[in-house]
């Protein structure tokens, strides 16, 4: 619906409504058309539009009209999108507008500015929209066509863990030297059993950033607990490795499902005792927790 059509409808309806409802409708019409209000005032109106559940039947069409209108300021349209996302939590009230909402988001993508485009794309990705996912993949493979930065694209693809984009993501992670991109890509691969070898290498690699190694540890523990245990013991035994990573390894070993097996290993227990006696800070604390759980 065009903003002018919406305004005409609201004005027609105002004649038949109570004073309170008439005022709410007038404010919404003003938010769309501007009137005497400043942009900040209009944005506040849009943000407050769904404050009352009873407002939703009139507020949602108004917000959709603002979102769809390329002539409206970007900030106002972005605020409308945020309010619509909040309204979507009231499932029964939003249901009549859901299809139009999704169609509007698609219409917004080619013409919106970066902020609104990114939010629209993310919203569609959360809905597991196949066309939105295809656009994200295209952008990762050809940066000239990217609608959002690669780290954001990876994050959005991660909303669908059945999307089947692991091969694309593995390729992006291998080629990128951007830590944020690698981190988001690895997060997406953390539920992919075929990536367990990659996480094993990252966890063991002393040249990697600590946050990447910690992510590698968490993913490996989930995907291949046996491999994780082996790698964690090796790291624990290596006095030249970083305390932070060793503490991560020991902390995870303390909470494995098969803790009895770890506790019964004299070599591991001796090493933990040594760490408790000779180290400081979080590594010593981790050793103390292991001993405590051993009883």
């Amino acid at each position: 619906m065009k903003a002018s059509d919406y305004r005409a409808r609201v004005e027609k309806e105002l004649g038949a409504e109570s004073g309170e409802v008439r005022e709410a409708g007038r404010l919404r019409a003003a938010a769309i058309t501007g009137g005497p209000l400043t942009l900040d005032q209009r944005r506040d109106l849009v943000r407050d539009a769904i404050g009352q559940r009873g407002d939703l039947p009139t507020a949602i069409p108004a917000l959709l009209a603002i979102l769809a209108d390329a002539g409206q300021p970007e900030q106002l349209r972005t605020a409308a999108l945020d309010s619509l996302k909040a309204a979507a939590f009231v499932v029964t009230a939003f249901a009549p507008h859901r299809a139009e909402f999704l169609a509007t988001l698609h219409k917004v993508l080619p013409e919106a500015g970066a902020e609104l485009r990114g939010r629209a794309l993310e919203t569609l990705a959360i809905e597991k929209d196949k066309d939105a996912q295809a656009l994200l993949v295209k952008g990762l493979q050809d940066p000239a066509k990217a609608l959002v930065p690669p780290a954001a694209a990876l994050q959005y693809l991660g909303y669908d863990d059945h999307g089947g984009y692991e091969n694309v993501v593995r390729d992006v992670v291998a080629k990128s030297d951007d830590d944020e991109v690698r981190y988001e890509g690895l997060r997406l691969l953390a539920s992919d059993p075929k990536s367990s070898g990659l996480f094993e290498r990252l966890f063991a690699d002393k040249n990697e950033k600590s946050e990447i190694r910690r992510l590698g540890a968490a993913a490996l523990q989930m995907l291949a607990p046996d491999k994780f245990e082996k790698a964690a013991r090796k790291i624990l035994a290596d006095d030249k490795d970083y305390d932070e990573i060793r503490a991560t390894a020991l902390g995870a070993l303390t909470h494995v499902r098969e803790f009895a097996r770890a506790r019964a290993d004299p070599k591991l227990v001796a090493k933990v005792d040594e760490l408790r006696a000779k180290t400081r800070g979080f590594l010593r604390d981790a050793a103390a927790r292991f001993v405590q759980r051993s009883g």
């Binding site: 249901a95 009549p96 859901r98 196949k130 669908d160 059945h162 089947g164 059993p193 075929k194």
Partner: protein, 362 residues
């Protein structure tokens, strides 16, 4: 190299009007068809929507009907559900359960409606309602359900208009209730011997390892397939919940001898702890006769033996059907319940029949 999904969809569109097109389309429906290999689940759903839409151009072949009904019953992709509804319009004669399944699909879409890309300007719910209007056997049940849906006021203007048109069409003709056949239980035919898979190595939810025949030979059992990452609550999660109900029913009938088991489609991810948690959270009681498994090697031997309806993307399952098999005391398939939601009472009765057979009692 596998063609891109866009190329596959172009080929499907290119089939229109060609000799043998319907057979080609039907051959693309089973999840294990090569066309699904390597697709993500979204791509698999998109492909399916296009296949159903292409089938909607003519009479619906009988072989495609179970796939259409399955989609209406448990599908979660609005476009695939809408296209299945369109395909149903070409069914020859009355289809048992069509009305109930269209209403079930409409109820799902009433809160999750989406634009239907294969009919620009229309939504998935509109297509389902339009099919209901054309269904000769739709009657009082649909009138009541649509009236309630309209009274709730939760439909878009377009869907509301479609629902009103459907309601008017239903009211304008005499409702005809046709009784008909159709059961989701497959014809077991001749038992399929389990010899080829007797040695397949399995690991159960506690980490114990054994061969297929070690568990499944000796007593009859019910075997379902599932995976813990399944996103459709009406498939794997419900299957395991129903297995728990089956356990209770077997206990009530005093036939706890029967084995109840499930094997994961996704053995690399479904490690023992995950199997145990998934079952326990859905009320499944584990003991020596009631267990969940994953294969220690590839799942292919079981896939081939049971002709499993499952397809795989790059990382996990992209689509699967519901499948449960009743095995005889030799571990061979005695009855199958596939694609549609199965009934615990029917499975329990099939198991009771196996336990009473001379081969088992002797």
């Amino acid at each position: 190299m596998r063609p891109a999904i866009s190329q596959i969809l172009e080929r499907i569109a290119g089939l229109a009007g060609q000799a043998g097109a319907v057979d080609t389309l039907v051959a693309l429906l089973p999840e294990q068809a090569a066309v699904y290999d390597g697709l993500g689940s979204g791509e698999a759903e998109r492909l399916r929507a296009h296949i159903f839409a292409a089938l909607a151009a003519g009479a619906l072949p009988a072989a495609a009907l179970p796939f259409v009904l399955e989609e209406l019953e448990t599908g979660t992709d609005p476009a695939a559900t809408a296209a299945a509804a369109m395909a149903l319009r070409g069914a020859a004669g009355a289809v048992a359960e069509a009305e109930a399944l269209l209403l079930k699909a409409a109820a799902r879409l009433a809160v999750a409606d989406s634009p239907f890309p294969l009919a620009p300007g229309r939504t998935a719910l509109q297509e389902v309602l339009a099919t209901l209007a054309m269904l000769p056997e739709a009657g009082a049940e649909s009138v009541a359900a649509l009236s309630a849906m309209l009274a709730q006021g939760a439909l878009s203007a377009a869907a509301r208009a479609e629902a009103e048109r459907t309601l008017a069409a239903l009211r304008s003709r005499r409702a005809e209730k046709l009784s008909c056949c159709a059961s989701e239980a497959g014809d077991p035919g001749a038992p399929i011997p389990a010899i080829g898979i007797a040695g397949v190595r399995l690991e159960d939810q506690s980490g114990a390892r054994l061969a297929f025949a070690d568990f499944f030979a000796g007593e009859p059992g019910a075997l379902a397939f599932f995976y813990t990452r399944c996103m459709n609550p009406e498939r794997c999660s419900l299957t395991v919940t129903k297995l728990a109900r089956l356990q209770a029913r077997l206990a009530d009938l005093g036939i706890e001898r029967a084995r109840v088991a499930a094997i994961s489609y996704d053995p690399d991810y479904d490690l023992p702890g995950r199997l145990a948690d998934y079952g326990a959270q859905r009320g499944f009681r584990f003991d020596s006769r009631n267990r969940f498994f994953r294969t220690l090697g590839p799942v292919e031997p079981l896939k081939a033996h049971f002709e499993l309806g499952v397809g795989y993307g790059p990382a996990t399952v992209n689509r699967h059907r519901i499948e449960l098999f009743v095995l005889d005391a030799a571990g061979a398939v005695a009855a199958s319940f596939t694609r549609r939601l199965w009934d615990e009472a029917e499975v329990a009765a099939a198991l009771a029949g196996q336990l009473a057979s001379p081969a088992t009692s002797s």
